[in-house]
Symmetry: D2
């Protein structure tokens, strides 16, 4: 059968690009997000709301996840939504709120950027910028993030192979920015009982092929609040360097993704369970430093 010489899908894996490859750098890369290190023996939990909705929502959620052991705060100001009629985020107002609560809690902040024209603006507020699934192959955006100095959280496209994911990361490294974290967040399959199919095998595969840290997003990976704890435990057991989770102080009132967000109690319980799994595999989950305020 003739195969297609330029088909990354068919020839999958024949050529892992050089800068992300473990052959280039056999040591694990440690990404430093304003003092929080991802990629070492600590497992780092990133938590917060899907979207920044209001001062109260953000601040209450942030304080609580910090208390339970989250080390980095997540929250979207510019939201990629399938429909133009859905809530699109607070924009720069959201970035300002993130900046304020960082000051109070000491938690570094990660937030998404969707447009090359916003990279500079977002980088001015965030400690790490996120490039979402839908933009994993937005090459101008990858290049722009690669030219900046902020760490980049790159999420796997929902239909990207492991090889394509690494090629996307290579675009960032190739511009000079080596502070990249890879995030498995579920792929699209025929199964519809979950929002996506969380591909936990991507974690050991990525860690074998690349020196970059790998984290998991069980919220988007399942789309089901009740399933987030089980898949979080599995993600820690499989070897992830961290998790990024949606947590909301009132999930039932969330403007975005409430059905997959943990409430504050659920998150606290989960953190306690995750510490046991981390210990069982010889790693640990460290609490944040005492609050700066």
């Amino acid at each position: 059968m003739e195969t297609n010489p330029c088909n990354n899908h068919v020839n999958g894996g024949s050529s892992i690009p050089s800068r992300v490859s473990r052959k280039t750098n056999s040591d694990n890369t440690i990404v430093n997000i304003n003092g929080v290190k991802v990629g070492g023996s600590d497992i780092v939990i990133i938590a917060g709301p899907c979207a920044v909705e209001s001062r109260e929502q953000l601040f209450e959620t942030a304080r609580a996840v910090r208390m339970s052991g989250a080390r980095i705060l997540r929250g979207g100001a510019f939201k990629p939504r399938s429909s133009p009629y859905n809530f699109q985020g607070l924009g720069e107002e959201g970035l300002k709120l993130l900046s304020q609560i960082r000051k109070e809690t000491g938690l570094p902040v990660v937030t998404e950027v969707m447009d090359t024209r916003q990279v500079e603006l977002v980088s001015g507020y965030a400690d790490m910028i996120q490039i979402g699934s839908r933009n994993m192959q937005n090459y101008p955006l990858l290049k722009e993030a690669g030219m900046g100095r902020k760490p980049v959280l790159l999420k796997r496209g929902m239909m990207a192979t492991v090889e394509e994911f690494l090629l996307a990361a290579e675009y960032i490294l190739n511009q000079g920015n080596e502070q990249v974290i890879l995030c498995e967040r579920g792929i699209r399959t025929f199964e519809t009982s979950t929002r996506n199919t969380l591909d936990l095998s991507a974690v050991p595969m990525l860690k074998r092929l690349s020196h970059l840290p790998v984290i998991v997003d069980p919220s988007h990976g399942t789309g089901l609040r009740w399933m987030v704890p089980a898949m979080s435990k599995a993600a820690v057991a499989v070897g992830a360097d961290g998790l990024i989770m949606e947590v909301h102080f009132k999930p039932e009132e969330a403007l975005c993704d409430g059905y997959q967000s943990l409430n504050l109690d659920e998150f606290a319980q989960l953190m306690s369970d995750l510490k046991k799994i981390a210990r069982a595999i010889g790693r640990k989950i460290t609490l944040p430093e005492p609050s700066p305020v």
Copy 2:
């Protein structure tokens, strides 16, 4: 079983957005690309090289596809490539060449834009701008294209449902630009003998749900030169309003996608075959106007 209230995948199709919906506009929309109309009884063939590589390559190919009956010229100046080390296109130099050959042949030109910052530049040269598969959910880019006045060729994401595809088009229409052509170009499945799986059922589905014209890209849809003719005939038979194909005067020397590009003779033969299929279903393929030069 609990299902996910916000999962477009699960709830597929429950809510086709309003501006693209046939319920809003029961007449077929006709998109006018500098005089060439897509969406009526004529089936319009768009042809040309994957990437503009040189004056000779572009001009010889353009003259030949025009002679065989192509009505619109395609050619990439900014190329989205999986690897940062592949040929990335000639940039503005490529746009200038497209503009020159348009003058000579009278063929309107379609070319891809990947970055919000380039929309104005590309719109200054092209008669229709293309938003590629990888950017189908690049919402800032969709909005920017929607604020312009050039027709937009929107390609289906390789992982996008029909509903998500229509939602992406809605982003463009919602900004005021209703001149949008939808393009089925193959989806990603488990099958690896073809580059993608060309989903021809999307054509009747999209035409039933929406008033926008629908065309098919058999080159990316198959990734195999020898298969392009068979799938092109099928696309015409199934009801597509047009085709967009990669044609190169010397495919074996192409810098991009040569393995899926027809040569000039193959294209001429195919055009002759397509006319018969068009006639069999009561449509037609019209030759271009006599050359303006």
Copy 3:
């Protein structure tokens, strides 16, 4: 990246088995179903109800599809159903009805077999036995069919690659039965607006790789009655040697698959349209011989 040496999915197509391969037999195989030849220049239409439900339903449908130009009658007596609580078919009673209407109309009959223990029984009534999608890799059943002398209609598994499909056919040929027709009937993908994704590119691919005839099932391939005509035309245009379609005299009362069955008028209209497409590609659809009764 390490690849898996035994993964047919990864190594797709590296080794088409010998008996089905075109390299072994460069001439097209003609399958003779009690006088009706599939694989030559004639395009053969197989039609009838999903399941045999009653004498009236079967006989009225059979007479009508014959009048419109169907050459072979389909109808299930043993039905594979996802749920044990759905109608499971009439069993041998259904086979007897098929045999009676064959006598009246002269139409050869194809019906499904699911169990090795039934192959002999079904072969005693049918002119061609069908192995359905769910049993494409039921190896004991393939071997049993291969040991018989009745032609076999083998449907592609909804999850099977082209290579696996050919390997399944090889099991039949390897037992000595070379009268095998391959049937593309839709694969499972992430898209949910259609029941399956009809992979028409499998037709030219299979015909290039193998000498066996290839037909298409647009009823299961789409699951939508209104879409069957468009996909049938595309299947003829792409080069299929025949079609197998569900037709019911009263689709709204069908015990099985009524939503994807054409009624008698729709089928008659479609046959008329298909003849034009066949002519446009240099093939033809021949009417059945005058009825023997």
Copy 4:
């Protein structure tokens, strides 16, 4: 958008069949395989070679996995192979060897059955019969297993939804046999770096929807020996009631699946690691009883 009323894929999960449903039986079903109980607080490990190849291979492997803590022995006598030219198993000779080593080690035996005509034969030797992925929708086989009294290990089809998987189990329960274990073994997706994509989210989903025990097969789920340990740990952490793994005393000489089989040392090390994970989630892995010999 019209959806398809009979499309299990679209309507996924609307109707979990009654006998397997947790609504029918809120207590976990405990399956008793000749004294070994699956579905309680113990996590049960099933291990052994892909295929029974010889007395030495089977016996040495069986003794070693027992020493490391496996409670049930696996080994195929009738093998479903994609190609008719691959090793098809030793047949009844293999069953006899399994029976002999059971006597020596006291380990109950599970082995696959593919043909309705073999169910009685295989049940005469095995303590649990396995229905493999390719036969998940082989309804006559499901019914035959349902009429027997041996526990059934039912593997998920590689392209079956969770709902279809439960419907297949329902076929068995509906015949009167309620001793069914469900096994997630990887689904087919677009990703090709692993043999299948192990869908660990199916474990909590199945346990929520059904009272039946759920185990995981990390060997077929990944197809990569080095990845089996990581995914095994994840499977225990996510809540699986057991694992089924391929172990071979000399993987490099295996006639089948050697690339995904652990050797004896790797298995011993993994068992030790799994005990820690089990403890971290409040469960345990118990050693087999002292050998009867």
